[in-house]
């Protein structure tokens, strides 16, 4: 569980985050999205007890991050953005050291277990200095998981991983998120879409939107969008679709398909399909295209910038 109230942090005269309020429940994966310098890392550093906030309070796993910092730190697994590792140690020794610091009785088994979780058991005895960036990222993740923490805070966990590993790590996070609380930051919006139950969009130290990825989409778009593809030339198709009742707008997409929009709840897809087929086209595909989180994100942060 994470509960943040009025969290504010100043670095000297610069305000990095101001008056943040949000919550993450047990069994929930919350994504922290925002451009560079938005304050994601700063927030995470406060939640993990690395540094105290200038103002406001935060409760993590039921303990206050300032007054009961040690209790919080016992219950949090943290992957810092910079993935700090002792490069002079082997992967196994490093994980065992981290497990010992957390006073886990069976630290050797846990180190092995954590290596296995991130698929690094074959490199247990390699020095960390000899591992690739993605492998180091995985060791960092293993370190965050080693004590089976109640709350997991991951600062850009999949950055630098190969596609296969990205899928693996996302699966792992989903798995962990079933029972624990996960807060992760990312720039990859499709990632937030895939693994997060809820997304917080933060810009310039303020939360500008907070919702499920789906709701964010429909809230912002206000209409649904569908792409349609036919065999061969699609000349004249736009005109036919435009005539269908309920269709709000039509335009051709760069990939040769035609996109049309309609108000949510008034699904006109059957009518459009009939019209297209009746006009003699071979209908190949009818596919919903949500407004991507990328677009939502740009939209939100642009609005916010304009207001200033």
């Amino acid at each position: 569980m994470i509960r943040v109230e009025g969290l504010t942090k100043d670095y000297g005269a610069r305000r990095a985050i101001s008056n943040l309020n949000f919550e993450a429940k047990q069994g929930e994966i919350v994504g922290f999205l925002g451009p560079n310098g938005a304050g994601k890392t700063t927030t995470m550093r406060i939640l993990t007890g690395y540094m105290p906030p200038t103002d406001g309070s935060a409760l993590v796993a039921g303990f206050d991050v300032v007054d009961e910092s040690l209790e919080v730190r016992k219950r949090v697994g943290y992957l810092p953005e910079t993935v700090p590792l002792y490069t002079d140690m082997t992967a196994y020794d490093y994980l065992k050291f981290m497990a010992d610091l957390r006073q886990i009785p069976d630290s050797s088994e846990r180190a092995d277990e954590a290596l296995e979780m991130v698929g690094m058991e074959s490199r247990a005895n390699s020095f960390i200095s000899s591992l690739s960036k993605g492998m180091r990222q995985r060791i960092g993740l293993a370190q965050a998981l080693i004590h089976r923490p109640e709350v997991l805070i991951l600062d850009e966990p999949t950055i630098g991983l190969d596609p296969g590993q990205v899928v693996e790590v996302r699966k792992l996070i989903r798995e962990i998120g079933k029972e624990r609380t996960v807060l992760l930051s990312t720039h990859i919006l499709s990632e937030a879409q895939q693994i997060c139950d809820r997304v917080l969009i933060i810009n310039k130290g303020k939360i500008v939107a907070e919702d499920t990825p789906e709701n964010l989409q429909s809230r912002l778009v206000g209409s649904e969008r569908v792409a349609l593809r036919v065999r061969g030339e699609s000349d004249g198709l736009s005109k036919i679709i435009t005539k269908v009742k309920g269709v709000q707008s039509v335009h051709s997409a760069p990939d040769g398909s035609i996109e049309f929009q309609f108000a949510p709840g008034q699904d006109v897809r059957p009518e459009v399909a009939k019209a297209v087929v009746n006009a003699g086209y071979d209908l190949l595909e009818l596919r919903p295209v949500g407004m991507s989180l990328e677009e939502i994100f740009l939209e939100l942060t642009r609005e916010d910038n304009r207001r200033k």
């Binding site: 690395y50 540094m51 700090p84 140690m89 050291f97 010992d100 610091l101």
Partner: protein, 248 residues
């Protein structure tokens, strides 16, 4: 307590993979060994030419040992905390359930145990000396001198850890530490010799005064208190610096 031990053990093991630590150990053992050989040579010459047959004192050896420890400790302590800041690994330590002072004491203990290991190795020199000379060496003086070396190491490592926590750069930490050591030994001693007043104060502040006293074979509580206070001061500085840097 277990955290202190976990951190100390990692540091101690790290020294055995670090070229700097080997250079330091080698330099100390070589210089101390060379002085020791000279002392023996001198003693046997004296015995030969009939100038008394008293056992040679190891105080000259120990004095050089002290000198080498002062010069080389900064190389052992410079990276202890500064490197954690530079590499960012401090973020791991400060978000682990470890108290700031446990971290600092753990770092100190790792270095102290390494220095104790070097000191333990040099014990073979007095043993050799003992087996060469019939009256043997003055055991009491030797114990007192080694106590002095141990206390001196504790204090220097404490100060070194404290200074290392103030820097992100280990070279900066090295020179700052060396400067403080030279000040506390030779400069303060020099001031006590030339100062018109406050001779006692400066003489008390000088590490040399306390070390020389132990090296000459007298164990005074004031000397022990002096070194332990410096150790505590260094560790306190370190813990405070770690804490303060969290807030900045």
């Amino acid at each position: 307590m277990r955290n202190i031990w976990t951190i100390a053990r990692r540091e101690y093991n790290h020294f055995f993979t670090s070229p700097i630590a080997y250079v330091v150990a080698f330099a100390i053992l070589l210089i101390v060994g060379a002085i020791f050989a000279l002392v023996i040579l001198d003693a046997s010459n004296n015995a030969f030419s009939g100038f008394g047959s008293t056992a040679p004192s190891i105080s000259a050896v120990v004095w050089w040992f002290n000198f080498m420890i002062i010069l080389s400790t900064p190389a052992l302590t410079m990276r202890l905390i500064s490197e954690e800041h530079r590499m960012g690994t401090v973020e791991l330590l400060l978000t682990a359930p470890v108290r700031d002072w446990e971290l600092v004491i753990g770092k100190w203990l790792g270095g102290f145990l390494f220095m104790l290991t070097i000191i333990a190795v040099t014990l073979i020199y007095p043993f050799i000396l003992n087996s060469l000379e019939t009256p043997g060496i003055d055991q009491g003086q030797m114990m007192s001198a080694y106590l002095g070396l141990i206390l001196l190491s504790a204090a220097l490592l404490g100060l070194g850890v404290g200074i290392s926590s103030l820097f992100n750069n280990q070279i900066a930490a090295f020179f700052a530490t060396l400067a403080v050591f030279i000040f506390l030994t030779w400069i303060v001693s020099f001031i006590s010799q030339i100062a018109p007043g406050g001779k006692d104060l400066f003489s008390y502040l000088s590490m040399n005064t306390h070390f020389d006293s132990l090296n000459s074979g007298t164990i005074n509580l004031t000397d022990i208190v002096y070194f332990l206070s410096l150790t505590a001061l260094g560790l306190f500085t370190g813990a405070t610096a770690v804490e303060v840097r969290r807030w900045s």
